[in-house]
């Protein structure tokens, strides 16, 4: 029997109402999903939405702020590159810029050297290896602010446990100015950053080491290559791509580091440990000069872009070689 409402091709004209058949909509949906472009757009939409909300919007907002005279509570007007000019003529910014480069360079060098050493060590078999691997991750797991507080107490100029130990052991007669001297303060920050970032290097390089076929080392040994030669001629060339990727990530993170310096020194004494990020925060958020703060922040962009571009270019050359 025919359904007088649902309709059909053979219904009597003027009596039956044509409503969509449930099966028809399913077919249409399936046909739409078979359209690769549409499906791709649908699948990408959430990611695009997230990227747009959390990356593109803040970035565009940051660029706009840097080109405006916005201060806390006032909208500001377009001022072109005035903020960038002001920033470049600011001696504190220049000091922070230099500090950031110095801090990034040395922290990365130490993290790479020590991380590589640890990775090679952990690639060997020894008792308790699992425990050592797990404990090595500790600095990486503990929140930066908490661990930096602990370091701050250790470096405290008056109550420093380091000074006390060194004094009791007879190595020093006067307190070392860990955080009360600008140069010492920056090196202390490099030490803490190295301590914190080294596990990331070690674990990633260890993963890279484990992809190297042991036969290669065996063959090199048979040819008479010692440990150093095996590392330099076998391990290092194969580990270069992984190393470069880790270094790229580390440079980005270290160059834009904020938490560590903010907790450890607050940029002092006398701005001698300010990094670009901490100075941008002080000007933009603490002082309320949002336009200037954004301009300071954005100065990191071209530097990081060049560094990353050079490293990725080198990586591509390595892969093509």
């Amino acid at each position: 029997m025919k359904n007088p409402i649902a309709g059909g091709a053979g219904g009597a004209a003027g009596v039956e109402v044509a409503l969509p058949h449930p099966r028809t909509s399913k077919v249409q949906a399936r046909t739409l999903l078979e359209n690769e472009r549409l499906l791709a757009a649908l699948l990408l939409a959430p990611a695009v939405l997230l990227l747009g909300t959390f990356i593109a919007y803040p970035f565009v907002m940051g660029v706009w702020l840097s080109l405006s005279s916005t201060t806390v509570g006032t909208a500001g007007t377009f001022v072109g590159l005035k903020n960038f000019g002001k920033v470049w003529n600011d001696s504190i910014f220049r000091e922070a810029f230099w500090n950031t480069g110095f801090y990034t360079f040395w922290a990365t060098v130490f993290k790479l050297t020590l991380g590589m050493w640890l990775a090679v060590l952990l690639n060997r078999h020894f008792r308790g290896k699992r425990l050592v691997r797990a404990s090595m991750l500790l600095p990486f797991i503990v929140p930066t602010v908490l661990s930096t507080f602990a370091w701050r107490w250790m470096f405290d100029p008056t109550f420093s446990v380091l000074n006390w130990s060194l004094y009791k052991l007879g190595f020093i007669t006067t307190k070392l100015p860990f955080l009360s001297d600008g140069a010492w303060g920056l090196w202390c920050a490099i030490v803490v950053n190295t301590w914190r970032g080294m596990p990331f290097f070690a674990i990633t390089l260890l993963a890279g080491l484990q992809t190297i076929n042991p036969d290669l080392h065996e063959a090199a040994s048979l040819d008479g290559a010692n440990g150093w030669k095996r590392f330099w001629h076998v391990t290092w060339p194969l580990l270069k791509p992984v190393t470069l990727v880790v270094v790229v990530f580390s440079v980005i993170q270290t160059f834009s580091d904020f938490q560590l310096i903010y907790v450890l020194t607050g940029g002092g004494p006398a701005n001698s440990t300010h990094l670009i990020a901490t100075y941008a925060y002080q000007i933009g958020v603490a002082t309320g000069l949002l336009g200037e703060g954004a301009a300071i922040s954005l100065t990191m962009l071209p530097v990081l872009f060049i560094v990353v571009w050079l490293q990725l270019r080198y990586l591509r050359r390595l892969e093509n070689a």
Binding site: V72, P157, G284, G288
Partner: protein
């Protein structure tokens, strides 16, 4: 027209006429943001008062306490996002910096002035822009130099040094005995500026002239003050102070590591409340050995910087009336009086009325100096009028860093020039 429809129409007309939502449409919770007080009992007292306020106002009052160094970032974030606490505590002359985000509280400012007498100059300078009150003055934390009486006696200083040079001489003897003066010159909100600004004033130097437009820092007086500081630092101070915040000197003093420091009365009050634990080198309660003195005079006189505190109602708040009602309740003689007593002189009132409070008659002798200390204060940005630019100088630590650079080895003339250049960029 039915009764229900009439009430609806009348209500909307009323709202339109008033230009704002009726009181019942406002939130039923009031969020108040303050610093974590150096006298924990003060925060306890506020928490105790909160339910009373809730009952009196018919709305829940909630206090939130954060580190004072984090207040400025929080204020900026709140104003920009137009959400957050209804009332925020302001230090120094911050209300000038954030004025576009603050509700005009002239009615409250005038009420408090009439109710509790004339304001101290810095309370008014901190919270009033000449025409209107940007925030309601709450109290002043007086800053004096806490020192160990017996240690000063040991080196022949039986009375508090009258001049900065005398203080250096005494400090030099104390440092030789391993008991230096402790002073922060770090990036921190209270003790570092409260030491640096008066040092500049007491030598006759200032940021700007009276107009507040011309930078006048680059003078021989400023250079002299830096030269004094260089010598004082080397001869008398714990040089670790460059890395200190506002809590380090409290810890160092109570641990017996330093002999003297510029501070609020929190050291004394902590030592008094912890008499059974905080002892001196003879095993006696340390509190009995603590005395206070003002920053000694320089060639141009003796000025201090006593930090003014105020409460601001935020413009984005949906509870403006409730917030104002609460401030009137909290700042009233009765409620403030209870909080003032708990503070034991650490926080004094914003008006001279509180100098007459019976607390001062029964307070310990070393605390008596705080009674009138606030009267000898200048405001940051002196000799100019209070302004957002002065706050910018403060927030960037320019004056503090000028001294920090000098004690780290920069020539006094160069450090003054550096600071003057920075000020010129700010004051235009």
């Amino acid at each position: 027209m039915e009764r229900r429809d009439f009430l609806k129409s009348a209500g909307i007309a009323g709202i339109l006429a008033a230009g704002r939502a009726p009181a019942f449409a406002q939130g039923s919770r009031l969020h108040v943001l303050r610093w974590v007080d150096f006298i924990p009992a003060c925060d306890v007292e506020l928490k105790r008062q909160a339910p009373e306020a809730s009952k009196a106002l018919g709305a829940e009052v909630q206090f939130e306490f954060i580190n004072a160094n984090d207040l400025q970032p929080r204020i900026t974030a709140a104003i920009q996002s137009r959400s957050g606490p209804d009332i925020i505590m302001m230090l120094h002359n911050w209300p000038h910096l954030y004025q576009s985000g603050l509700v005009d509280v002239t009615d409250l400012g005038e009420w408090q002035g009439k109710d509790q007498g004339a304001y101290y100059a810095q309370s008014e300078a901190a919270a009033r822009d000449g025409k209107r009150w940007l925030a309601l003055p709450h109290g002043i934390v007086g800053l004096q130099m806490a020192y160990r009486k017996s240690w000063f006696d040991e080196v022949g200083a039986t009375s508090w040094p009258k001049t900065l040079e005398e203080l250096r001489q005494v400090g030099m003897k104390l440092k030789k005995k391993g008991k230096p003066v402790g002073q922060t010159l770090g990036h921190t909100f209270g003790d570092a500026p409260a030491w640096s600004y008066p040092l500049m004033w007491n030598y006759g130097a200032a940021e700007v002239d009276k107009s507040g437009k011309k930078v006048v820092l680059d003078t021989k007086e400023a250079v002299e003050s830096l030269k004094f500081m260089q010598a004082f630092w080397k001869d008398a101070c714990d040089e670790g102070g460059l890395a200190w915040d506002d809590t380090n000197n409290n810890r160092a003093f109570l641990a017996g590591d330093i002999s003297c420091t510029l501070n609020g009365a929190s050291i004394y009050i902590a030592a008094k409340r912890g008499q059974d634990k905080i002892k001196d080198d003879r095993g006696e309660p340390m509190v009995r050995d603590i005395q206070h003195g003002p920053i000694p005079a320089g060639p141009a006189g003796s000025w201090g910087y006593h930090v003014a505190f105020s409460h601001a109602v935020m413009k984005y708040s949906k509870n403006e009336k409730l917030a104002k009602d609460f401030l009137k309740w909290l700042h009233g003689k009765e409620q403030f009086g209870k909080w003032f007593e708990v503070a034991e002189g650490f926080s004094v009132g914003s008006t001279k009325h509180w100098e007459k409070h019976p607390l001062w008659d029964r307070i310990d002798p070393p605390m008596k100096g705080y009674r009138t200390a606030a009267g000898a204060s200048r405001m940051i940005g002196y000799a100019g009028p209070p302004s957002a630019r002065a706050t910018e100088v403060y927030s960037k630590y320019i004056i503090v860093d000028m001294y920090a650079k000098a004690v780290q080895g920069m020539k006094a003339e160069d450090a003054v020039k550096w600071a003057a250049d920075q000020l010129k960029k700010i004051y235009g």
